[in-house]
Amino acid sequence: MKAAVLVFPGSNRERDVAKALTRATGHAPAMVWHAETSLPEGTDLVVLPGGFSYGDYLRCGAIAARAPVMDAVRAHAERGGLALGICNGFQILVESGLLPGILTRNKDLRFICKSQHLKVERADTAFTRTYAEGQIIEVCCAHGEGNYFADPETLERLEGEGRVAFRYCAADGSLGGTANANGSVNDIAGIYSEKLNVLGMMPHPENLVDAAVGGTDGLALFSGLAKAA
């Protein structure tokens, strides 16, 4: 597994992602600056980390989505290469058109920073192979604009094609109510591209990769990816 982590001006979770990938794959990923026009030769997985690229100017992820390196990411995804966008990385993926919909301001306008349970919708993708279908995992949320929105036709397509990756839920797996703090439509916390090779998610699996800092539910995602190539 050859991984690359993109770094935009204002990214701030790239080192955590690199640590998680190093732990899961046994070697450090390449760190790729946004102004590059290509990914390192043989890249299997590209990760867009969290942060506040370009200070969230215009719309979260909007400027970063137009960075030179994104053409290379688009070509990589078209070839079937794996791409993972976390938090701001998810916002960049929707702004770049690699994933449908958009992430808008949290419904109560508050920045949400807390532990969050997620339901794993399917366990047959490169990202979730080490989880079980329907498994409840605990990761972290830290975002102000995570309220997923898509028009009804897009939503129907996502649901129909099994492209919802994770849903916000309570510890017992129940959906709705306070479990969905940001107001995302259908409790959506993460979605896949049509070919299931691109995943965007608001919560941070890279926060939970070490028992010493609260748990390892996030590590499984990276371990799964390590086995993907």
Partner: protein, 80 residues
């Protein structure tokens, strides 16, 4: 030539910021407000003096960057 681009949320898209402003106007005692929707305004100076070229440039910048047409619509005016 100068142009002004206005980007607003499409009808039906939840606007929590507009709602918060609406609430604040209420607490200020500003009466008669039915609802508030927040948008964005861009003043753009274009190099061209040809209206058709200006329009093409404006349309391209709106579609490609200034608006996210999933939730936003845009309009522009060219000011002489």
């Amino acid at each position: 030539m100068k142009a002004r681009v206005t980007v607003t949320l499409k009808t039906g898209v939840l606007d929590p910021q507009g709602k918060a402003i609406e609430g604040a106007l209420g607490s200020l005692g500003v009466a008669g407000v039915e609802s508030v929707r927040q948008g964005k305004l861009f003043d753009v100076e274009l190099k061209t003096s040809d209206p058709a070229e200006a329009e093409a440039t404006l349309k391209a910048m709106c579609e490609r960057l200034l608006a996210n047409t999933v939730i936003e619509s845009y309009r522009y005016e060219i000011a002489g």
